[in-house]
Symmetry: C3
Subunit: 213 residues, 3 copies
Amino acid sequence: MANILKFLLPKDRVFYSLFEKAGENIEKIAEKLTQLVNEPDFNVRNTIIKEMEDLEHQNDELTHQIFVELGKNFITPFDREDIHSLATSLDDIADFIYAAGKNINFYKVDPNDQGILKMATVIYDAVLAVNEAVLELRNLKNTQKIVECVIKINSIENQADDIFDLSIEKLFDSDVDAKTLIKKREIYQILELATDKCEDAGNVIESIVVKYA
Amino acid sequence: MANILKFLLPKDRVFYSLFEKAGENIEKIAEKLTQLVNEPDFNVRNTIIKEMEDLEHQNDELTHQIFVELGKNFITPFDREDIHSLATSLDDIADFIYAAGKNINFYKVDPNDQGILKMATVIYDAVLAVNEAVLELRNLKNTQKIVECVIKINSIENQADDIFDLSIEKLFDSDVDAKTLIKKREIYQILELATDKCEDAGNVIESIVVKYA
Amino acid sequence: MANILKFLLPKDRVFYSLFEKAGENIEKIAEKLTQLVNEPDFNVRNTIIKEMEDLEHQNDELTHQIFVELGKNFITPFDREDIHSLATSLDDIADFIYAAGKNINFYKVDPNDQGILKMATVIYDAVLAVNEAVLELRNLKNTQKIVECVIKINSIENQADDIFDLSIEKLFDSDVDAKTLIKKREIYQILELATDKCEDAGNVIESIVVKYA
């Protein structure tokens, strides 16, 4: 939005715009991850990773802006600690998704792996639900919708736990060498952490609803 | 307690009951862990792990209730941030104890291992001390008792560090294959984290005593 | 400072002294780390590690004092949450630097390794910048100086990320056995975490500047 318009807005409205931009941003980065894991060419994957890095930097910038606004605004639309936690969770989601993508090429791991493919899909689903919930924050009228999103996020996180357990079990039962095992295990862990952070974001949004709706 | 009774309680009293229930709960889950590590039969261990999972879910529910009450109550018996930190620590204790138990069977690791057995014992001792300190929060009269509990928790956490170091050293000096090494190392790490979280709980309780007693 | 003098100070001034002592302390421990990684003799390294342990304990004590003061003082020079976060970051820096040093001998890893040597140097540089920024907190007049320190810390953290990636890449491409790989990887991770915590400290200081300068 143009800077001139910004001054016409009630000051605390700025938070909604920043959260919505961050939500849009993590949706894009999660989409890039699903592209990446379905891309067989190492170099094309490198190009996608570069795009993910740009999105991750944009998210850093948005998080930074939220913290700056939090420092400047005495009045905030909801608890300062909730704003801080939500910004941190959204930032963490972007960080872990980017880290997963980056490490796939860094470790030269073939993403054509059942665990990795399924994880990328559930991360995308979880991020869509997070983004939907974020969009409802602005008016907080549709509590039912937010509650549904939070339930969905938690259920996806449980799926991710199961995919993780199954992938780790398969990995340890396979005859891969120690190096490959360590690399793949780390990628599964990072992917699973991305869904944990979606759950964190969902929990903060739920606690905002409890207090303000 | 019956819902009807709840309304007769001063609203901020609800936190004590919830913390006491969580304290009781982590004592039960820590007891289950000592049973588990002393149980040679894989299938009996599975039954114990199922019971631990139920206790862990109950703790999630209690933590959730504490956060809901925190959102609803303007007046709290101590600082909101301390209530939040204590609830989080108690939840983390339950999470790590359950994760340790679950991973023993998941990784098919024989718990009849000096490091694992000793860790389970010190975790139980630490949890007993946490629970004792939690029970004193309600009146905050017996500061001396709380201080003793906190000192005990910290001393147990130091013991856990030593057990961890010794176990890792033995593990790396042994001729186990890489997979077993990675599995056992992770179990030691989770067990050690459980005692770290007991220390966190002790630190929050200590800071409450400093402010309110 | 003598206890008698302490009472003549405005109560909220006590935080500056404590932060400055913690800053001095992490500078000393980071200096010890650079000594340690350049020391070929295992036993001399053990002596240095003992000194690092003492410094780490001193930092624990300072952090504890900051939390106690935070509990006692209603008026603080900046936001309570910023004081808490800064104390925690400085404590974490000391913890990770000490842990890195300790694990070098614990795992019997030769510190004469390009990754480890470079990491120790950038950690020292990052800590110097953190300390410089901490010293400016007392009057908050020289905002430009603080901003420069924060930019420097962030740039060093980026360097540390690159050193980490390069070291891990070299490690996985080498023909070391799984045990050595796991040990070295853990040391690189701990060293990298130390620079992350410097970045955290920088971020808190930046947010204080935004609010109060």
